[in-house]
């Protein structure tokens, strides 16, 4: 019988209409002493306003450098079952599609080897198995791989790529996010499992500029779908929206960042100057039955997003304005560029320097030169506004 903890503070969080994580821990605690001790330690944290985990140590499965986060309680005597409480990151399938069978297999493995608690999913995208001991790592790994699953990334490696639902269920997907996410994951298994970079290296794939996987904010390489040709307009549907009361003028036209739409209120007709359109998606979002992205579709590749530590947060910035990433040749070229960038970053990057910080430190121009990409104005919001140019060539006159 597991020890019974009084958890008046946590019990408060069982109340209220939103589903309760405390209920989940208690549910798991019925079967797992680990989860039960977690409950105890967490209640103590709630009382003391202080976490009780020690700085992680390096643990893992044989031959892999990533996928496991070591974790130890700083009150191991009091909560012995969580004295080791490592998490295992399990690489999710593209788009987080599952079958009930697949989920049950996973649950069974985790029931056998761990706390029975998970995150579905971690914020990088993995399934997170929350809490096990060092001696269970190899067994759980064995069971997982035998069932067809593998670990995700952690440490200074390629991290588990993730993607939006894309062509699986979205009319706006401009390329096959699910497939390309899978392709990159499979291609870089070694990079994903064996940290060899200066720091983490994250990929996210969004099918259109709505960016439902937050790639521009959270991935070193952000792949965002877009299109080249004209927005497809179904004039009848425009009229229907107008008739149904949509304020096309104020809600659509006035919100167009490119100021490239005109609306004829009498005729209920919309016209778009597509050469100025920024592919922001707004008008399409508001009138999905009337407007659709063009048919010449592909992706914009951006680079460098990260959280604030150390130099301040970054959003990714444009590297390739348009790539027909579904095309195998262009995809190969993209992979070549990835590898080229990895090389340059590995060679010149400092320890714990994300690629975005690296580019800022060495200068975008120098970075482009090193990876063999031509500078183009699409890469900047605006050209420099300071006159501090490092001209590389100057003429030497005779008398020097």
């Amino acid at each position: 019988m597991p020890k019974e903890y009084k958890t008046p503070k946590l019990d408060e969080l069982e109340k209220g209409p939103w589903p309760s994580f405390v209920k989940e821990i208690k549910l798991a605690a019925k079967k797992s002493e680990m989860s039960n001790d977690l409950l105890g330690q967490l209640e103590q944290s709630y009382n003391e306003k202080l976490g009780h985990w020690k700085h992680g140590g390096i643990v893992g499965v044989m031959g892999y450098g990533g996928g496991v986060i070591g974790r130890y309680s700083d009150l191991p005597d009091k909560y012995p079952s969580v004295s080791h409480f490592h998490t295992i990151r399990v690489n999710q399938p593209s788009g987080w599609f599952y079958t009930s069978d697949a989920l049950r297999t996973i649950c069974d493995i985790w029931e056998k080897h761990g706390s029975g608690l998970t995150n579905m999913h971690g914020s990088t995208g993995d399934m997170v198995f929350l809490g096990t001991t060092t001696d269970h790592l190899e067994p759980v790994f064995k069971d997982l791989t035998e069932a067809g699953w593998d670990l995700g990334g952690s440490g200074s490696d390629m991290r588990t790529p993730s993607c939006c639902v894309g062509p699986g269920r979205c009319e706006w997907a401009c390329y096959d996010t699910l497939q390309r996410c899978y392709d990159i994951t499979m291609r870089y298994q070694d990079e994903l499992h064996r940290p060899a970079f200066p720091y983490k290296w994250k990929f996210k794939f969004a099918g259109c500029p709505n960016d439902c996987v937050a790639s521009i904010a959270r991935a070193d390489i952000s792949v965002i779908g877009t299109w080249k040709d004209d927005i497809r307009v179904d004039a009848d549907q425009v009229k229907t929206y107008a008739d149904e009361g949509l304020d096309i003028f104020n809600d659509v036209v006035l919100n167009c960042p490119a100021k490239c739409m005109r609306y004829d209120g009498e005729k209920k007709e919309i016209s778009i100057d597509n050469k100025d359109c920024r592919r922001c998606m707004h008008c399409i979002n508001v009138m999905p039955k009337a407007l659709r992205p063009g048919v010449e579709q592909g992706a914009t590749i951006l680079i460098g997003a990260k959280a604030p530590i150390v130099e301040g947060a970054l959003l990714s910035s444009v590297l390739i304005p348009f790539l027909d990433i579904d095309d195998e040749e262009e995809f190969e070229a993209f992979c070549d560029l990835i590898e080229e960038m990895q090389d340059v970053w590995c060679e010149e990057g400092k320890n714990r320097e994300r690629v975005g910080e690296f580019i800022q430190r060495v200068g975008m121009g120098n970075f482009l030169e090193a990876v063999g990409v031509e500078p183009i104005p699409e890469m900047v919001a605006y050209p420099r506004d300071n006159p501090y140019v490092f001209y590389e060539d100057f003429y030497e006159d005779e008398d020097e």
Binding site: W18, G51, G116, T118, L130, C280, N285, G312
Partner: protein, 362 residues
């Protein structure tokens, strides 16, 4: 899938997603035509073929016991031919071609305590991190704050009654695992005291040059303390980012009285209308007050209500504030503007108001 291999299997990657796609998805892959939200939390996607796919989205605590996952799986078997997915914000989605199943799924999942909603102009689940449940670095809990906030704003999850989407995120320390920096509302755990130094052990477990280099403000200097090689922290130069602690366990920084939560607003990720933006500081500090962080939930509810009452349709939090100006935001929410709000980090000067574009009250 399972296949008893004699030798150790590695580097197989995740299963191919194809095997998990519902048949209707396979049949209409990349051929969807449009979608419609038919009721809060339920949408239908219509394919060029005319096929329809209904999605029922339900809120989930993310931290799930395996028995709950099994419950989801059972529900999928019952109504969705065994198909379901999770979203990028940790909700669970049931996928069915049968319109008549929608109400049934809703009833069963709601009965389990999972509200249906989070679509369109709503608040969806809060992206968050580990907190005291699993991380050594946390300045606040994650799941607890999230639960407390969602309890208060759940009506905005269940109904579409906001001007636009409102994305809330939480990260329990400046590492910002939730990547909260681009959220309509971000909740960020924050320390407010310089690290303590475990001089006895520091040299044994950490590399002093790496440690010094880790500090963004160069507040850490090598020093000999009681004969031992260690470091000193120039306290006035420390802004409590805890990067030193990440690099070196002998620099603990958590402190019950000084740890807490800050609130940030106006960020976004999508390219819709305006470009993606960072969230900006709204409330510099609220002490941790578990289990329900009432000051935090109150502030968030207030911010949402003010935005909802004043923004135009389709205006995300930051777009509204951008249009009416930050002075209006502070005035309407009643949040005091303080020295801490004014940036003094690297790009500080760029955040100053360098124009005469101001609103004035007569």
């Amino acid at each position: 899938m399972a296949d008893a291999a004699p030798q150790r299997i590695t580097d197989i990657g995740p299963p191919d997603f194809q095997q998990f796609l519902p048949p209707v998805v396979k049949a209409n892959y990349g051929k969807w035509k449009y979608h419609e939200i038919v009721e809060p939390g339920v949408m239908v996607h219509v394919a060029e073929s005319g096929d329809e796919l209904y999605t029922i989205r339900a809120g989930s605590p993310r931290l799930l016991a395996i028995d709950t996952i099994r419950f989801y799986a059972d529900l999928a078997d019952k109504y969705c031919d065994g198909h379901l997915r999770f979203t990028s914000r940790h909700n669970v989605e049931f996928l069915t071609t049968k319109k008549e199943n929608v109400a049934k799924i809703r009833a069963e999942i709601e009965a389990n305590g999972n509200p249906v909603g989070g679509m369109g102009r709503s608040i969806t689940s809060i992206v968050h991190t580990q907190g005291w449940v699993h991380c050594h670095s946390a300045a606040t809990d994650a799941s607890g704050v999230v639960k407390a906030v969602m309890d208060e704003v759940i009506d905005y999850f269940k109904e579409e009654k906001l001007p636009a989407k409102c994305r809330i995120a939480l990260a329990c320390c400046l590492n910002m695992c939730g990547a909260v920096h681009c959220s309509d509302i971000a909740i960020l755990g924050i320390h407010r005291k310089p690290p303590r130094i475990d001089h006895k052990n520091l040299d044994k477990i950490c590399e002093i040059p790496n440690l010094s280099a880790s500090c963004p403000t160069a507040a850490i200097r090598p020093a000999t303390v009681e004969g031992m090689p260690s470091v000193e922290v120039i306290e006035e130069q420390c802004m409590y980012c805890a990067n030193c602690f990440t690099v070196c366990p002998a620099m603990p920084i958590a402190d019950p009285e000084n740890d807490g939560v800050s609130i940030w607003v106006g960020g976004k990720v999508s390219n819709a209308r305006s470009e993606p933006q960072f969230s900006k500081l709204a409330i510099p500090f609220i002490p941790n007050n578990p289990p329900r962080w009432p000051e935090v939930t109150e502030a968030i509810v207030k911010i949402i209500e003010v935005w909802a009452a004043n923004a135009r349709p389709y205006e995300r939090m930051g777009e509204w504030i951008e249009r009416v100006g930050w002075p209006r935001f502070f005035k309407l929410t009643g949040i005091p503007f303080e020295k801490e709000h004014i940036d003094d980090f690297k790009h500080a000067g760029l955040s100053f108001k360098r124009s005469a574009h101001l609103t004035h009250e007569a």
